[in-house]
Symmetry: C2
Subunit: 221 residues, 2 copies
């Protein structure tokens, strides 16, 4: 697959070797995350709201109910920045200055529009549901027309996109390697725990099988 | 402890029962997170950048190098929104509509300033380092004057702050409890893995002890 062409707004300037515009790298990060942070501005004041999302080819759909109150007056679309961050490790160097985090993040910039079309909205909600729990849409009770109207979905075309990745051990100044200080990486792992039913599951209904989830990589360094 | 008074910009309007302005609740979330997402706007275009942070009483300090390129032209401070989100669980309802996430988030709004004062910058960097790895500042090699100049710290006074928390099982429509569909919570756990040294640690230097970290709660529901 090819790259998202870097623009003045997405080019990674600080520590550019951490930047990537490769679509495979970008999509792998998006497909692993559960939550994105949506940034938008109202009268110059930025807001950053967490929400669920899914990618469908070159479009990012987000569940927009948390932001739609603010955005629904905007019929022509609204400039947004949507960021997904996966934390992989704490990087402990010998010097305070070289401490860091191992992470993979994607920053997406553009103009989001409210999804009005009923079919597109259903498809987007299916994608978002199945992004969090694969194949869940096919077993859950479908939305009623009222629920569909109460749901709010925003779409962002993936055009200005960049990934930033740091991995591996700390990098200390050469002189500092002589210091008797432990240095390395403490992995941060995101795992799914044992399902807890809600106490009203009908007899004979099997608990959700964790193997159906996308593997939550014990990511380490 | 008392509350952050809700303002027009921080009042939780959608699902208000999930909102909290209690300082203890807010600070507990801030003290558990590793990464915040900083939102700021340039010429009306929002940007959302992940970075490390620490709270010092009623001030949030963030490591600003990733955003300072854009912000350093602004000497009078810049409107920001800084959000910290902890994901605790996937909430599976019987209806697609009532699927949700269990999470704890804090949204902080205000005007951030660049920290110029050398002593305040040192103190803030110590707080940020020790927020990620408790007591690390006291054992690491201190920043040189050059490293200090190369570091960039932003300070946000905690004034307009709100927390939003969802916990517990899904809430289905009463009719849907008769459906033979599993419903409940799949906990999402954030854990620290075994430390991986960088291969150049001096003989006799003990590996970092994970018990010194703030407990990463197996948070579940």
């Amino acid at each position: 697959m090819d790259d998202y062409p870097p623009t003045a707004r997405t080019k990674v300037r600080r520590l550019p070797k951490r930047g990537s515009y490769d679509k495979l790298a970008v999509h792998a990060i998006l497909d692993e995350g559960f939550v994105c942070h949506v940034g938008f501005a109202v009268d110059g004041q930025p807001y950053v709201i967490p929400t669920v999302y899914a990618r469908a080819e070159a479009t990012l759909y987000i569940h927009g109910s948390a932001v739609s109150r603010t955005l629904r007056t905007l019929t022509r679309g609204v400039p947004v920045c949507i960021t997904v961050t996966l934390l992989d490790g704490l990087v402990l160097a010998r010097s305070a200055f070289h401490h860091s985090l191992n992470y993979r993040s994607v920053v997406m910039i553009g103009t989001a529009r409210l999804v009005d079309d009923r079919n597109e909205k259903m498809t987007a909600l299916a994608r978002i549901t199945n992004h969090v729990v694969p194949a869940r849409w096919e077993e859950a009770r479908m939305p009623s027309e009222l629920e569909l109207r109460q749901s709010s979905v925003l779409a962002l075309p993936l055009e200005e996109v960049s990934a930033k990745i740091r991995r591996g051990p700390p990098v200390d100044d050469e002189d500092d390697y002589a210091l008797p200080i432990w240095a390395g990486v403490v992995p941060v792992e995101t795992r799914l725990g044992s399902p807890i039913d809600d106490g009203r599951v009908l007899l004979g209904v099997a608990a959700i099988d964790l193997t159906r989830f996308r593997r939550r990589a014990p990511s380490g360094e």
